[in-house]
Symmetry: D2
Subunit: 343 residues, 4 copies
């Protein structure tokens, strides 16, 4: 398609993430429109569609993808539904922005990878939106320039104020640490080769049965070591920090503070409540970048390989969590389609 | 017009600001398109139009405003051309986003004000984009909550790395301090009543004949005192800071730092090169807010009264600069059309 | 005297400052002992002396200075008593550390200056202890290196949580801003030539009749401009900040924060309660430096000229406060004894 | 002894640390004097003694301890000489400030512990000077108040610009990480129970054969997990940071910055060159606290037990470094003499 055409997007899933993406495409992003929304809950899909001009609603992703005016697909349904939706998009040869995880496990991610490889060209961008955060982008760019030498370690902190009911230890890896896994792979341009998890005595604020916080250690193919504090019931807000330790210096993101108040005997300011507040701009930039690339006929951003490699590292992480032992990560061979850029 | 229609904007002026706004409406902002561009230099206008699908080019603002598909006007021509363009927009009853200054002096700003008053409804939003900066917005919101009590003083810093050839002392007031004048009026919801300017011995980096830096003192109708360091050849980058001193505490913006590097015996990070880098998001938000309000049939943001009051304070500032004396600011009576919100 | 002898100090005045200095010499400072304490309240002097081994108590400064084992004098009595004590110390040719102010007004300070000039050598160090603060010392050293070029402006903030009963507007100049006056003279190595005072509408937290805060503007012999926010009932703690604006960059002190806490939705830390907490180390260093120099037979630090020049600027400041007008500072000729170092 | 007597200190060892301690006692600390210095190099000892009034020089620690005017001992000789000197001090029943390590290994530390236990009262303070650093003291005090709940994790960073020739991997544990081991024990009031060491691919700036940096993981008796980045050839300066993660918030020290400079397109400031610059005040406070306690007839500060427990954890750390495996720390039973305070 050419740039003179507004991109018609089918949004699959109208839960929290899906309806927010629909709003974003409708109100924030330039050059795209929500052509269709899909949900197994027909009423919910219809309610979202009713708020958007020219938007139809569906319960079947395949039907939506075949509908008039649909040029691209944004998948924001629950993880287990991703594989089918991705394969359907491949069948229509439609570009896809797929919310993370690509799929819930490495085996299904590998099937998606193979299907895209058979297609012969990239169609999928995975929703690792931290790559579109201004601070992380600055850090990436600094490391890429090489001023600090090779990166030897990353120190990461990932904190949530609290968890919803039903949040499990496995979700600490699959839903939270997965971001640090992707950040590690992206910043270092190396694969994760092993995972170890240490579990301190849990906070008394942790829900019964949840070992929170944990310290996750990643090792990479280039010999770097990454430590991640994951603390999902820290109580005081949402925080993400990352310090890269290079041979000649270190660089840190995550402390940006716009407003400093001196009052009541204290200096300081507010902490973000959640990831929506902290990464709002990154979500906007991610979807705009996807729309822009798609209108140019390109696919950029995190690939299905990135989604697969993250899934494999998460699987090892969940095993490491259970056993307490250092757990290697095994990857399939990397298809040529996903060769690292610039090599 | 209704929300289901993309807003067709005529951009008047295709210099640095105008062409950037055209790019913004074309690539960044949701719900609007560049329907027409206008420049007395026909070739320049045509070149900009050629890059944008469905965009026509003109040398006469009136013709552009009358053209098919033009729903709104963004004025980014040189200040002396603003009055005529604004009156023409009023003649077509088109909503306008007018880059600051509204007009170059208080008398012409007053004529615009009176014309809009005769029209009977607001049509103009003035481009004081700091109001759309995330940090300033947080500061405004904090002061409005009243936690710090009444605001007694503002300490402001406004620094540019260097000035282009031909930059004069009057431009330090009219082009630079005008932002602090608007910020003062907006944060305090008070008018500026007097201006004093102190001129230290100039920096040896200042161009011949330019007294740089200067310290500008504003007094307001509520008895607040505001000091502004304006230093337009500081050499090291672009910086804007504002500290509000309240009865029970102070709040400060302008120190946000995303990336901190420890290397070579120093901690720290980069300083923005210019206002484009520092306020990129604010420009985006400003135009998006204008497009959104316009599509809803509303006019929000800084009004023609704000443009007029800033012009009057600037005039007093330029006189104060020349005389060294405290110079009162005199304002016309405020028409009911511009009554402060919420009163 | 030689370094092998412990310096016997007579402390004149045993109020808050005097008894703290006695404690400091007794417990913190190396190479000195409290040989005598003096107070018109004989009981208070005796109580302090009783806590210190080998210390005698007196009501008459002259008698104390003549006593056995007294090698030097620390004057911490109320300001109006300083002149007589200083002249008595000159009569005994004893080295003196005199708490600021040197004397309460410029005329009496000039008499002290002339008496020391007649003596023919420096005997007095004035207690401007900010010069011994680590941060200010770093700033002084940075400016002296010249990396930032000539200093064009200083932006100063001086805040106290609250004032004791009876605190007057004149004391805002004489007791508080006097520190910024000395800092200005010391950092810039220039004299203050004029003072202007702006008075915002007072804080509702200010005691009846006290115009608090105020903005004090100093001009210097080298053409620099200095603004000082003095706010003595800011409510939230003690803060002192100073930013020096040079031709090629700026440098700022006063934001050092040792401990940062993230909790309860906020990042930040505690603000010092008062000057004792903020400048404890500076007081210790000041007295140690005085003891060390005295034991070497030298007189260093702020001189009687510094005390006199500050008194003259304060007098102009108090007049400026009353009249609202720019008020010149007139100084006597500087005796050769007080020639600036290194010239 | 009573407070009216100046404490006569014998300083054992006149290398870098010993001669600096002699200078400190002579010039900085109140209430103490250097009565004797000891070194196997008689000339070096004599040279130090010659600069200090009333100071004798010796080659035999025992002789110095028996000399007139010696009331206390400061041991700053090489680690292997500590045990003999400590036992000699016990024989004279003299109070001792012993530079860390107490002794080079856990077995010899245990012998010292048993000797002091036989003496029946504490005589030894070990030189873990971070406990006397203002920032660490604030952190300790904050954690002790319990506002943040139980401490779950510590994140520590310990960086040196470069290492002297001959610096080994074992010294990274014994000389560097030993500080974090003591800080962990002191802040948490728990023993270290296991050590694991991860070794990233070394920096190209690391000397041949030195695996630098490393990530050391400590586990404690209360279930806390501590990660320590030790990087002794980071190239850019000396840095020590510590973040305590509690159940309800986190607190961090190590970022205090007195002076911030904006120039040359960057904001920021200098990083300390080495531990002498960073911890100068802590060293002063440590020795003053020891002198003050000794003059009161008390022994406070880190005990021989603290020295022994650190030595045991270091031994485990060195083994963990060699094997890559998690290594338990085994401690002897804690004698009643060293019962935790307040229990």
């Amino acid at each position: 398609m050419t740039r003179d055409r507004t991109l018609g997007v089918a949004v699959i899933g109208t839960g929290r993430m899906g309806s927010d993406h629909a709003r974003r495409i409708d109100e924030v992003v330039s050059g795209a429109r929500v052509a269709a929304v899909v949900d197994i809950d027909a009423d919910r899909a219809a309610a979202v569609a009713a708020r958007i001009d020219g938007c139809t609603s569906w319960t079947d992703p395949a039907a939506a993808m075949a509908a008039d005016g649909v040029d691209a697909v944004l998948i924001a349904s629950p993880g287990p539904a991703h594989e089918a939706a991705l394969l359907e998009a491949f069948a229509h040869d439609l570009p896809v922005l797929c919310e993370k995880p690509l799929t819930p496990d490495a085996a299904s991610a590998l099937r998606v990878l193979e299907a895209e490889t058979r297609l012969g060209h990239r169609r999928v961008q995975v929703g690792f939106m931290r790559r579109y955060d201004e601070e992380y982008a600055q850090l990436k760019s600094l490391l890429a320039r090489g001023d600090l030498g090779r990166t030897l370690m990353l120190h990461c902190v990932h904190r949530n104020a609290s968890t919803p009911p039903g949040f499990t230890g496995q979700m600490m890896i699959n839903d939270s640490v997965v971001h640090e896994i992707d950040v590690t792979r992206w910043l270092l341009e190396q694969e994760v080769t092993a995972v170890t998890v240490l579990r301190p005595a849990p906070s008394s604020a942790a829900p019964e049965g949840l070992s929170d916080p944990q310290l996750v250690l990643l090792e990479t193919s280039g010999g770097a070591v990454v430590d991640v504090e994951i603390f999902v019931n820290c109580g005081f807000g949402y925080q993400v920090r990352c310090e890269a330790v290079g041979e000649r210096g270190t660089a840190r993101v995550g402390d940006a503070h716009g407003l400093c108040v001196d009052a009541g005997g204290r200096w300081g300011g507010p902490i973000a409540a959640d990831f929506v507040e902290r990464f709002r701009d990154a979500y906007d930039r991610q979807v705009q970048a996807w729309v822009d690339a798609t209108r140019r006929g390109e696919v950029t951003g995190p690939s299905a390989w990135d989604g697969y490699a993250a899934a494999a590292a998460c699987e090892a992480g969940v095993r490491a969590q259970a056993t307490g032992a250092r757990t290697p990560v095994t990857l399939a061979e990397r298809p040529a389609l996903y060769a690292p850029e610039g090599r």
